[in-house]
Subunit: 295 residues, 2 copies
């Protein structure tokens, strides 16, 4: 199958190469930043319009809502080149609300649209073990499924409505942020009260407090090593999606709002590019006490 | 060994019976509420003073800080009967700060003290699979360890200072409450945005958002079945311990404080005796939207 791929960054590169290794032809738009490996694996065309014109499926993997909008509908964008009956798969993490609009516009061109954001990071992208959360009609999902199988493992069709994949990703980012804050408040409390946070984490791992965040992120907090991983800057973007959509929906998400403020505090202290487990620094700053003092 | 056991409620009964089945002699103070099974298994004495006088080890399993204080130092209490060299083990979940005082007073009588709160609930108590978090000197922990092995599985000596076991339990309750709120905010958001919360939970189970709470409590939220389990009333008590101690320690725990307010809201709507997963009702009330509308 001829697959156009727009957005060949840290995530997009290994995802595109896994499709190529699965036997598909890659078409990509010219960018100064294209790596030699991608240039060797793909046909490089002038712009996304030309890519769309030559492809059966176009996949997007770009940073934010505005980037998807420009890639689809901007000058030299995908929409201008799409053949009738093509499939657009947006694997970026963006606004569920904007996704519905984008899907409508693409549908109006006689094309299918699925939103399919991922989690699992660079490691999951390379290992083709991404979690993929998919929104879109059954038939469109069925078309995309063999491609998802080349890029991920835990693939869930959340709903037939576009945007439900993005909604699921936002829910994921809410839980991860709040589980990080849970671990941060608990460990700072324990250390300040005179207990060894490493022992506390160890004791809690088997019980109801156990989580992937307690396993992975709490260990980073205890060691004080915050090289990313997933940057605070990006998690701020995702919580902004959550809080903006929640406001539109008339929902109040008090702990999500607080977690966003904690990220803002860490960013204010120069930590926007640290791993998101560095949220613990905001709790430390509030209490004028460092977890490292204890461990 | 002769073991005095004070507090033979839902948790204390199976714990005491597991000690009896392990070959120890049980001594308990007379209470109208003693079950026939406990009366058959134990020697019933007039009060806790008599129990302490006849025992090598005295175990407490009562609801709150004030109950421990009365059981130890009130009229007919443990302290008045303790033999020099006895060991007191408090397995209740109470204030880490008060625990330090209680331990000092017991030590002054020539006795050892360990604080050893548990998690795992009635199920864990019956199956002798409790998680036990222990604070106290190495020698006292070594004395208590064979008894813990008859009641639990995941036994961690948190620190040599009394109170560190209680501190660990408080940390556990902080994480469980905040992970519950994380799941609640994420699922209500997802459902309100038009996604099926059961599908969302399923998609998130394999990734960084996964936790025991997402497994167990989120399922209760989706089904809307809130029979306890662990009651909101008791989790309120535990978060009160956290917030009171945090204030004394000069720590700010913003999401713990919010979670406590959410529990208070559910209690205000008549839910104090529901399972703590019913915290989701507070998020539903705030947004005037029910998870059940969607599922």
């Amino acid at each position: 199958m001829k697959i156009g791929f727009v957005g060949l960054g840290i995530m997009g590169r290994p995802m595109a190469l896994n499709l190529k290794n699965g036997g598909h032809d890659l078409l990509v738009p010219e960018r100064a930043s294209l790596t030699a490996e991608i240039r060797a694996a793909a046909t490089v065309l002038a712009d996304a319009t030309a890519v769309a014109a030559g492809s059966d499926v176009v996949i997007l993997m770009v940073p934010d809502t505005g980037d998807v909008e420009r890639a689809l509908f901007g000058a030299g964008g995908v929409a201008a080149g799409l053949k009738n009956g093509s499939l657009v798969i947006d694997m970026s993490s963006i606004s569920p609300v904007a996704t519905k609009e984008f899907a409508k516009k693409i549908n109006a061109l006689g094309c299918d649209y699925v939103d399919a954001p991922v989690s699992g990071g660079e490691v999951g992208a390379k290992a083709a073990s991404l979690t993929i959360m998919v929104g879109g009609p059954d038939a469109a999902f069925a078309r995309a499924k063999p491609l998802f199988d080349l890029m991920g493992k835990n693939i869930t069709h959340i709903g037939a409505e576009n945007g439900t994949g993005q909604t699921c990703k936002v829910a994921n980012q809410i839980i991860v942020a709040l589980n990080i804050q849970a671990a941060a408040e608990a460990l700072v409390f324990a250390a300040r009260a005179g207990a060894d946070p490493a022992k506390v984490r160890e004791a809690l791992m088997g019980g109801f407090a156990s989580s992937r965040v307690l396993e992975v992120h709490a260990e980073r907090m205890i060691k004080g090593t915050f090289n990313p991983g997933f940057r605070i800057r990006l998690h701020q973007k995702d919580l902004n999606l959550a809080l903006t959509a929640a406001r539109e929906l008339g929902l109040s998400l008090p702990n999500t709002a607080i977690a966003q403020q904690m990220f803002t505090s860490v960013a204010a202290h120069g930590g926007a590019d640290l791993d998101h487990s560095a949220l613990v620094k905001a709790i430390e700053i509030l209490g004028d006490f460092s977890l490292q003092d204890k461990t």
